[in-house]
C-alpha cells in the first residue's frame, strides 16, 4: 500500500500522551518490543503521525528513521486517521473472483473518494484491504465494525451505505 505523509493536523491530547508513555515504559524492556509498542500506540491514537513516532523514538531510544521504516513497511500502520465512517472492501481472492472490484468501484463512485483516501471533512475513508478471512461470505465489505457479506450485485451497496450516510 502506498503511504502518503501525514496530512491531517495533529490533535493528540495530554491524556493520550500519558497513556502512551506509560505503555512504552511497560513494554520497552521486552525483546523486540517496538512492534507491540507501535500497535498499542495506534490503538491509542487511531493512527501513527510523526509526532507520535517521535515520542516513541524519544522514549525507547530507537532512532526515528528506524521507526519510520517499520511504520511504512507494514500495511496495518497508518499515517492518516480513518474516517468516522471507515469503509473497507475485502480484496482477498475469494472476494475478488466474486466481484469485489465492482463493489469497490461502486462505493468509490458513491462517496466520491478513491481507495486509500480519507475525505477532506474526515467523515469517510475507503480502503481495499487484505483478506479478512470471511471468505465464506464473499464478497464482503466492512463499515466500521459491521460486516456485510454475500453481496449479490454492486448496486446492493447503495442501500447499505444509506444507513450510514443518512444518520
Amino acid at each position: 500500500m502506498k503511504k502518503i505523509k501525514t496530512t491531517a493536523g495533529f490533535m493528540g491530547t495530554s491524556e493520550q500522551k500519558e497513556k502512551l508513555i506509560a505503555m512504552i515504559a511497560e513494554h520497552k524492556d521486552i525483546k523486540g518490543s517496538i512492534m507491540p509498542i507501535l500497535q498499542k500506540a495506534q490503538e491509542i491514537y487511531g493512527y501513527l503521525p510523526l509526532e507520535v513516532q517521535q515520542i516513541i523514538s524519544d522514549e525507547t531510544g530507537v532512532s526515528m528513521s528506524e521507526i519510520y521504516g517499520i511504520v511504512t513497511f507494514y500495511s496495518q500502520f497508518v499515517l492518516n486517521p480513518k474516517g468516522e465512517i471507515a469503509i473497507s472492501v475485502c480484496m482477498g481472492t475469494a472476494c475478488y473472483v466474486k466481484g469485489a472490484k465492482d463493489i469497490l468501484d461502486r462505493i468509490s463512485a458513491n462517496i466520491g473518494i478513491k481507495p486509500g483516501e480519507t475525505s477532506k471533512d474526515g467523515r469517510y475513508s475507503l480502503d481495499a484491504t487484505r483478506c479478512i478471512g470471511a471468505c465464506g461470505l464473499a464478497p464482503v465489505f466492512l463499515v466500521n465494525e459491521d460486516v456485510y457479506g454475500r453481496i449479490e450485485k454492486p448496486e446492493d451497496v447503495d442501500d447499505i451505505l444509506k444507513k450510514y450516510t443518512e444518520s
Binding site: V97, D102, C131, A134, V140
Partner: protein
C-alpha cells in the same frame, strides 16, 4: 501447585494421573457430541457455530435469542448451549447443531429460534425447513455425516473444531487433550519424539512441505543455551482461513504441540506470530494460554518432570512477506520484516540468533495425535510421500464455500464436485487455484489428479497453505494472473532486485495485455522474465511470484492470445476490452439511465437511449437492470 478448575474440582496437574482423571470426568459430556447416544443419558446440547464465517453472518444474535428462549421455557439448566469453532460449512451460516440427535440447521435466523426450541427441543420434532438441505433426501432426514460435504472428509487437524468449546480447557482435555504432552514428557526421550514425528512422514502444511521431523532433528542437534519454537499463524494467502479456524476452534492443540516441540528440541520458550486481522483467534488463543498456565500445563516443571515451557503472542501487522520464515523472525525481533538469506537456516541460527524451529499452525495441530497414536496412524493415510490429511479453504465459485479436511491423494474433482457441491448457477468449471500468490491455476482437464505435494508441483502449482479457489467460465485467467501479481508487487519487501523490479516489469506487460495494448512476443517475454525471477530471488516470495502467470500461460494460452491479438476478453472482465452498447431493443424505459451511478446514459423517455463511453465505468448495472436485453457486451 494446586488449582481450582472451572467446575470446582481441586486438581494437582503435577502428574499424568490427574490429567487422566479430569479427562474421564468430562469424557461423557463430550461423547454426546460425537454420536454416542448412550452417553447422553437424557442430556441435550445445542452447538452454535462461532467461527469467523458464522460470526460475520450473525451467530451472536442467534446465541442471544437461543439463551432467552431456553430461559423462558425454563430449560436453561437442562439444555447446554455451547459456542464452538468452525464446522466448515461457512457458506450456510449461521449454523446450529443439536446433540445427541445430530440435527444440523443451516442459515438460521433469530426468528427461527423459537420454533426450533418449541417444536424440536421440547417437542422432539426437527424443524425440517431449516435443516441442512442436503440432509433431507426424498423428504427423509439422513445423518449430516452422510452428506457429500462431510462423508469424504477425514478430520485430524480439525478434529475438535466444531465439537468443543474452544474457551474451555476441560473440553479439550476430555478429547485426550494434553495426553500426548504427558506421554512425551514422562515416557519418551526427545529423540524418540523426533523419531516418531519423522516416521509419520508429516510434511509442513505451511507451504513448502518440508519434513517436520527432519527440521526438528536439525534444531535438536544444534547446541545452544537457548532455543525457540515458533508457530507461523500469519496466514497471508488471501483466500485462506485454515489456520485461523484452528486457532479459533482448537487453540489448545497448538499449545500442546508447541510444548511437545519444545521438549523435543530442548527449547523453553515459544512465540506465536498471528495476523492482527484475526482478533477472535488472538482472543481465544490468549484465553487458552491463560488456562494452560493455570492448569500447570505451561510454565515451570510441567508434570513434575522439570521441563519448562511458555508461549508469547506477537501480532503481525499486514505484510505478506512476514509469512516467510526468516522475515517472520526478523519481524518478531522488532524490525521491518525483510527475509534473510538461508543458510544459515533458522534451525541453526534463528530467532535472536538462536536455534529455532518454525512450523505452521496446521502442522502443529497434527502433532499431538501422532504422538498419542503412533506414526503409522498418520502414515497409513494419504499418499506415499504426502501422509495424512490436508485442510483446504474452499472459496470462489463453489456452493459449499468453507473449510474441508481430506486425506492427501483425494482428487481435485472429489473436492470440487462432491465436497464442494459443484458450481452454482449451472456454470462450467474453468480452473482451481491452489497455493495462493505462490501457486498456480489448474485447468479442469487435470481435475482427476490426486492432490499431494509432489503432484501439485509437477503441474506448475503448489500446495501452499491450503487456499483453494474455484473459478468458472466468468473468470478471466489473465485478470486472475494480474490480480495475484498485483498482490506480490505490492507485498514484495524490496530487498532483492529480481523480485522488486522483475515483478513490476511483468506487471506492466500484463497491464498492457488487459488494457488492449498487448503485443506479439509479450508472452515469451513474460515466460523468460518469470524463469529469471524464480531462479534469482532471495526468498520464497520472489521464487514463486511468477507461478500464477506461468501456469495460466501454460494452460490458458489461447485466452492470453485473444486478449493480445483480437483485443477481446471473452469473460467480460477486462474492462478496456469491451464496451456496453445499447441495441435496437431499447424502448426508452429509463431504468438504466436512473440506475447508472455515473450518469453515463442519456436519452428521453420512450426513445432509444445511448451510453456515453467516456463516462461509463463499466460497472454493468445497466446490463443487469435492463428488462429487454437491450444492452450488449461488445
Amino acid at each position: 501447585m494446586i488449582k481450582l478448575t472451572l467446575n470446582g474440582a481441586w486438581i494437582n496437574m503435577k502428574n499424568i494421573n490427574e490429567l487422566t482423571a479430569l479427562r474421564d470426568k468430562f469424557k461423557n459430556s463430550i461423547a454426546i457430541r460425537t454420536g454416542d447416544t448412550a452417553a447422553a443419558n437424557g442430556e441435550k446440547h445445542v452447538l452454535v457455530c462461532g467461527g469467523t464465517g458464522c460470526h460475520s453472518s450473525g451467530c451472536n444474535a442467534i446465541l442471544k435469542k437461543l439463551k432467552e428462549s431456553l430461559k423462558t421455557h425454563g430449560l436453561e439448566d437442562k439444555i447446554k448451549v455451547v459456542v464452538t469453532g468452525c464446522h466448515g460449512l461457512c457458506a450456510l451460516g449461521p449454523l446450529i447443531i443439536t446433540h445427541p440427535d445430530e440435527i444440523f440447521y443451516e442459515l438460521v435466523e433469530p426468528d427461527d429460534i423459537e420454533e426450533i426450541v418449541t417444536k424440536h427441543l421440547i417437542g422432539g420434532e426437527p424443524v425440517l425447513r431449516k435443516v441442512y438441505h442436503e440432509a433431507i433426501v426424498d423428504g427423509k432426514l439422513i445423518s449430516f455425516h452422510e452428506t457429500d460435504f462431510f462423508k469424504y472428509q477425514h478430520k485430524i487437524s480439525l478434529k475438535n473444531c466444531g465439537i468443543i468449546d474452544p474457551e474451555c480447557i476441560e473440553e479439550y482435555i476430555a478429547r485426550d487433550g494434553y495426553q500426548a504432552l504427558a506421554k512425551a514428557l514422562t515416557t519418551m526421550t526427545p529423540l524418540e519424539v523426533i523419531d516418531m514425528v519423522k516416521a509419520s512422514g508429516i510434511r509442513g502444511r505451511g507451504g513448502a512441505g518440508f519434513l517436520t521431523g527432519r527440521k526438528w532433528a536439525y534444531a535438536y542437534l544444534t547446541d545452544s543455551d537457548k532455543k525457540y519454537v515458533v508457530c507461523n499463524a500469519d496466514e497471508g494467502d488471501p483466500g485462506a482461513f485454515m489456520d485461523r479456524s484452528i486457532l479459533e476452534g482448537d487453540p489448545h492443540a497448538v499449545i500442546e504441540a508447541m510444548a511437545i516441540a519444545g521438549y523435543a528440541i530442548k527449547a523453553d520458550e515459544g512465540f506465536v506470530y498471528v495476523r492482527a486481522e484475526y482478533p477472535i483467534a488472538v482472543n481465544r488463543f490468549e484465553i487458552a494460554l491463560k488456562q494452560a498456565r493455570d492448569f500447570g500445563l505451561l510454565g515451570t516443571d510441567i508434570f513434575g518432570t522439570g521441563f519448562n515451557f511458555d508461549i508469547n503472542i506477537r501480532l503481525g501487522a499486514g505484510a505478506f512477506v512476514c509469512g516467510e520464515e526468516t522475515a517472520l523472525l526478523t519481524s518478531i525481533e522488532g524490525h521491518r520484516g525483510e527475509p534473510r538469506p538461508r543458510p544459515p537456516f533458522p534451525a541453526i541460527k534463528g530467532l535472536f540468533g538462536k536455534p529455532t524451529i518454525l512450523n505452521n499452525v496446521e502442522t502443529f495441530a497434527c502433532i499431538p495425535p501422532v504422538i498419542l497414536n503412533g506414526p503409522e496412524w498418520l502414515s497409513k493415510l494419504g499418499t506415499e510421500n504426502s501422509t495424512g490429511t490436508k485442510v483446504f479453504a474452499l472459496g470462489g465459485k463453489i456452493k459449499n464455500i468453507g473449510l474441508v479436511e481430506v486425506p492427501m491423494g483425494t482428487t481435485l474433482r472429489t473436492v470440487a464436485e462432491q465436497v464442494g457441491g459443484g458450481i452454482p448457477n449451472g456454470k462450467a468449471f474453468k480452473a482451481a487455484q491452489t497455493g495462493g500468490p505462490s501457486g498456480g491455476c489448474i485447468p479442469a482437464e487435470l481435475f482427476d489428479i490426486p492432490i499431494d505435494f509432489d503432484n501439485l508441483l509437477s503441474i506448475g502449482s503448489m500446495m501452499g497453505s491450503g487456499g483453494m479457489i474455484i473459478m468458472d467460465e466468468d473468470n478471466c485467467m489473465v485478470d486472475i494472473a494480474r490480480y495475484f501479481l498485483d498482490f506480490t508487487v505490492e507485498e514484495s519487501c524490496g530487498k532483492c532486485t529480481p523480485c522488486r523490479i522483475g515483478t513490476q516489469r511483468m506487471m506492466e506487460i500484463l497491464e498492457n495485455i488487459t488494457e488492449g495494448r498487448g503485443e506479439v512476443g509479450d508472452l515469451e517475454k513474460l515466460e523468460e522474465l518469470g524463469e529469471h525471477i524464480k531462479a534469482s530471488s532471495l526468498c520464497g516470495l520472489g521464487m514463486t511470484a511468477p507461478n500464477p502467470i506461468l501456469s495460466t500461460i501454460k494452460y490458458f494460452r489461447h485466452e492470453y492470445e485473444t486478449h493480445i491479438n483480437d483485443k477481446k476478453c471473452a469473460s467480460g472482465v477486462c474492462k478496456a476490452l469491451f464496451q456496453y452498447v445499447i441495441n435496437e431493443k431499447c424502448i426508452g424505459c429509463t431504468i438504466c439511465k436512473r440506475a447508472c451511478p455515473t450518469d453515463a446514459i442519456c436519452g428521453e423517455v420512450k426513445k432509444p437511449h445511448f451510453i456515453m463511453q467516456e463516462k461509463c465505468v463499466k460497472c454493468g448495472v445497466c446490463h443487469d437492470k435492463c428488462k429487454f436485453s437491450a444492452i450488449n457486451i461488445g
